[in-house]
Amino acid sequence: MVTGELVSQSIVNGLLLGGIYAVAALGLSLVFGIMDIVNLAHGHMLMVGAYVAILLFAATGITPLLGMFLAIGLLFVLGVVLQKVLLKHVVGEGIEQPIIILFGLALILQNIGQLVLGGDARTADLGIPGSGIDLGFVFLSLPRTVTFVVAVLLIVSTWAFLQYTRTGQAIRATAQNRTAAKHMGIDTDRIYVITLGIGTALAGAAGALLSMLFPIDPYIGWSYLLKAFAVVVLGGVGSILGTLVGGVVLGVSENLGALYLGGGYRNVVSLLIFLGVLLLKPEGLFGSGGDGE
């Protein structure tokens, strides 16, 4: 029997999970919205970030919350190098070439992961003593609560960066009209480098957070890419608020679907919502419907 307490617990669990989904999708949404590139290697970059945090935790006991900053730094560099070496030649040249390059990169990262670390799933834990919070009608798991708070902080920080810094404003201007931005003196090539760096760094941060909740293996990239893509479409490409809402909708609908229909239908419910949004509001819940942000 589904009790009110079970429903509350499922909603809270979904909400906490949704925050992680949102931060996992944020980098994909930014790159898609600003550079018009679907980063097919986004899930695999997330996997790399997770492994950075896990290996650091295993070697030193440093919590993945701090390991996350190393993952952010490494993945930012990866994004910068990727844009400067490979993608700069194909950005704006159509959708196919970046997709081929990024698909290849995803396979390379997966195979490197498998060769270096093996196929076994690994996980880290919070590394901070403490237990969950019992509110009576719901129980807040400590790792989920902490990762949710950090995820929201990351999302708000990204929003503030885009809103209030000169570089952020230049990124938004480039997203709206690259040619006009160039004429205004913005170095759009540099903006693309920064954007991809931020996008991949966010993937690394999401991976580090996920490593505290779920096991990570070299093959997880595709499943997280799919979830991130669903969140981006739900929320609207390039919309930070939309990404947060999309993540929460996905997390809550998965949990309620599992509760009412059974865990076997967990993804069916969320994908039905995804299809519904595509049919009724293809630009997403918070998408502008036009170009750019």
Binding site: L6, G119, R122, L213, P215, Y219, A258, G264
Partner: protein, 414 residues
């Protein structure tokens, strides 16, 4: 049928392996590098998952098979060649490997990999080629009944045996302390459904109260809803057959949600050593039914242990469970070939159908569809304790078995 309590020495093991290697080299020269055995050589093809999702089990399977091959070389009046390849935990790769091995060699028998997915892929290939096939780590019964198996034989505890073993384990608990409320987490797969039905029927008939049976998606990483439902239903005994990754995730989330059943059995999920390396003490008390567990006695168990310990450097006094499981398969192969007196496929098939086998998991025969005869083989239940899997049920006098640890204390007391 066989006397297998005489130890295999390191020298005889090396002699057998070297002999097989020499024969393989000579055969390779004779066939222009194509490999394959002579008329007298028993050639066995097989795959193990040395990379991919099941890679943590590949080495153990290989070791059990290789120890068994050495034993076969000693016991049979012919050379035994074993060709093993990595199937990368992938059914398509497994099929390609088997195709290549059977094309380039005169293969007489095929040995399976790990999990229903990979074993049934190998079995389908063997059925098509009319070659005897032996597979373990494959509890799913339905393919035996529905796929008209003629060449597939599975010396391994099946779903019904797992349920029998679960009931036996519960019977170890004094009646006054025995839990009654059973929860079943059912993976949305054919085997998941089959196993859940056996548990529900067998335990229900025995008077247990099935208070929860919920499905989950294979590959799911979020068990929080199932945990909440189990807590709400006051589940005391939790039974499931998740993947190893899923099982580890579920226990991690039980801990972070501060809930634990009094007894936990994760068939296949708690099989690999990765369980303990990922969970540490949080993985203690978990039960599994991997086919073989340290603590079993008789039928060559002592000799297997001595050989393993002399061949492989290991700090633990407990062998990995899948070494025993795969070695048990090689004992069936050995005895079938001995009984057949031939390496012809028909003769081996006939022996597999008619003989009774004595292996490290007991004494049993096969039904025509390749299932082990009901109720015959031992379906041991192991329990994780201090980093090792040890026999909890049935009771034996081995020092490597343990007294079943029950109940699992709350997280705050662990």
């Amino acid at each position: 049928m066989v006397n297998d309590d005489s130890p295999v020495t390191r020298r005889s093991y090396l002699k057998g392996t070297a002999g097989a290697a020499a024969m393989a080299s000579l055969a390779g020269c004779a066939f222009g590098g194509g490999g394959g055995g002579s008329d007298d050589t028993l050639t066995i093809a097989g795959t193990v998952p040395e990379t991919g999702a099941f890679s943590s089990l590949g080495q153990d399977l290989r070791r059990g098979y290789e120890l068994g091959q050495a034993r076969m070389n000693e016991q049979l009046d012919r050379d035994v060649e074993l060709i093993l390849q990595d199937d990368e935990s992938d059914a398509q790769t497994l099929r390609q490997n088997l195709q290549e091995m059977t094309s380039n060699n005169d293969v007489n028998m095929i040995w399976g990999s790990f999990s229903s997915l990979l074993v049934t892929a190998g079995s389908a290939f063997a059925e098509n080629q009319n070659l005897p096939f032996l597979g373990i780590a494959f509890a799913y019964e339905e393919p035996h009944r529905n796929d008209n198996y003629e060449w597939t034989y599975s010396p391994f505890p099946k779903s019904r045996d797992v349920a029998r073993s679960t009931l036996g384990t519960l019977d170890l608990i004094p009646e006054g302390d025995r839990p009654n409320r059973i929860g079943i987490w059912e993976p949305n797969s054919g085997w998941g459904k089959e196993q859940a039905e056996y548990w529900e029927n067998r335990l229900g008939e025995a008077g247990y109260d099935i208070v929860l049976r919920e499905t989950f998606e294979i590959g799911s990483q979020d068990f929080s809803t199932l945990i909440s439902q189990s807590q709400s239903a006051d589940v005391e005994v939790l039974l499931s057959n998740p993947t190893p990754g899923g099982g580890i995730t579920a226990v991690n989330q039980m801990q972070s949600n501060n809930w634990s059943p009094k007894m936990l059995k994760f068939v296949r999920g708690a099989d690999p050593s990765a369980w303990w390396s990922a969970l540490g003490d949080a993985g203690a008390y978990a039960l599994m039914c991997p086919g073989w567990v340290p603590g079993l006695t008789g039928n060559g168990n002592q000799q297997l242990r001595e050989t393993y310990m002399s061949e492989y450097e290991t700090e633990s006094q407990y062998m990995p469970v899948n070494v025993g499981g795969s070695y048990n398969l090689t004992q069936v192969a050995l005895q079938a070939v001995q009984a057949a007196g031939s390496i012809e496929a028909d003769a081996i098939q006939s022996a597999l159908r008619s003989e009774t086998f004595q292996t490290v998991i007991g004494e049993f025969g096969f039904e025509d569809n390749g299932l082990p005869a009901e109720g015959e083989l031992t379906a041991p239940t192991g329990q994780w304790w201090d980093g090792a899997q040890r026999l909890a049920y049935p009771n034996t006098d081995s020092e490597r078995s343990l007294e079943f640890r029950y109940p699992i204390p709350p997280w705050s007391e662990r």
